[in-house]
Amino acid sequence: MKRGFLEACVLAAVSGEESYGYRIVKDVPASMGLTESTLYPLLKRLEKAGCITVRSAEHNGRLRKYYRITDAGRARIEEFLAEWPAVQEIYRYVEGARS
């Protein structure tokens, strides 16, 4: 479940203008606890699935990779959001255990 959240967060982080590794780590809410070691496999997976595109560009005399969302990535975000009612239902069920 957390993996799904992370994936959606990373997609959201590259959905506006293109972004790069460290900025994605900074942009994603701290509560997700995203680190580079989690981000790297995730970015590769998303790239393979065609959800993001990658380009290298020079920055301060070195190469930096920039990531941008694709239409497939946007569709994945929609899919994620469409499942919100199901999650709410689960939340309410678990919440019911308190009373």
Binding site: M1, Y22, Y40, A49, K65, E79, A82, I90
Partner: protein, 235 residues
């Protein structure tokens, strides 16, 4: 730890992977460390933020399918250990692998036997038509008109039925091509990564479940993958 030290260590730990993948991983972490240093961190602090090289390598290897992962992890401990295990364990893993391949192949054959059955029924039905035509000819020769008409009727009827079943057989074959492609994908999933990054045991990309772990409505990404696979299989 210094940046180069970290990257060298990471390279060593990932030595079981293809060289380009190791290079790509090292580049990613080199960039991440450089970006943190640009942000005002010291070199050691930036390197420490990545975690230990062991943890980083672990995260990369964890993304591999089951069998290459097991091999990579054993090899990381020691190449000798991998060979010792491979040789000593061969009475176990060779028959297991053969059994796995045999089961996979049998399921594949069973799936296709189904399609062949429907085709045989269709061919049999179409095959009756010429026989009926011969009977009609015989009736014509002896001048029995009602028999000729009935035989011609049967011939046309069986031909029609045969063509109908043939259409069904075609549809069934297409479905079965899809099924068998899915089966091949499933059977190979412990060994290799899916090409489109779609549907792989343990990864979220293209999973049959939604990103939350609940069944996805329509599971579109999966259908797209299936369609692509059946297109490949149909070729």
């Amino acid at each position: 730890m210094k940046k180069n030290e970290f990257l060298d260590r990471l390279g060593d730990l990932l030595a079981c992977l293809p060289a380009d993948q190791v290079e790509e991983s090292k580049e990613f972490y080199a960039e991440a460390i450089a970006d943190r240093m640009e942000d005002g961190m010291g070199e050691e602090e930036a390197v420490a933020a990545m975690g230990t090289p062991g943890e980083v390598a672990e995260a990369i290897l964890d993304d591999l399918p089951a069998v290459p992962r097991a091999i990579a992890k054993t090899r990381r401990r020691s190449t000798v250990l991998l060979w010792v295990l491979a040789i000593v364990g061969s009475p176990v893993w060779v028959p297991l692998l053969l059994a796995f391949a045999a089961v996979a192949f049998t399921v594949y054959v069973c799936i296709w036997t189904l399609a062949i059955c429907v085709w045989i029924v269709a061919a049999a039905l179409v095959g009756i038509a010429p026989v009926m035509l011969v009977l009609a000819y015989d009736g014509f020769m002896i001048g029995h008109v009602p028999f000729v008409i009935v035989s011609l009727g049967w011939a046309l009827g069986f031909l029609g039925l045969g063509l109908l079943v043939g259409t069904a057989a075609w549809a069934v074959s297409k479905q079965i091509a899809r099924l068998s492609a899915l089966w091949v994908k499933k059977a190979l999933s412990p060994f290799r990564k899916d090409r489109g990054g779609n549907g792989n045991s343990g990864t979220t990309a293209g999973r049959p479940h939604g990103p939350w772990g609940t069944p996805a409505p329509g599971a579109q990404s999966n259908d797209a993958g299936t369609a692509r696979l059946s297109a490949v299989a149909a070729r």
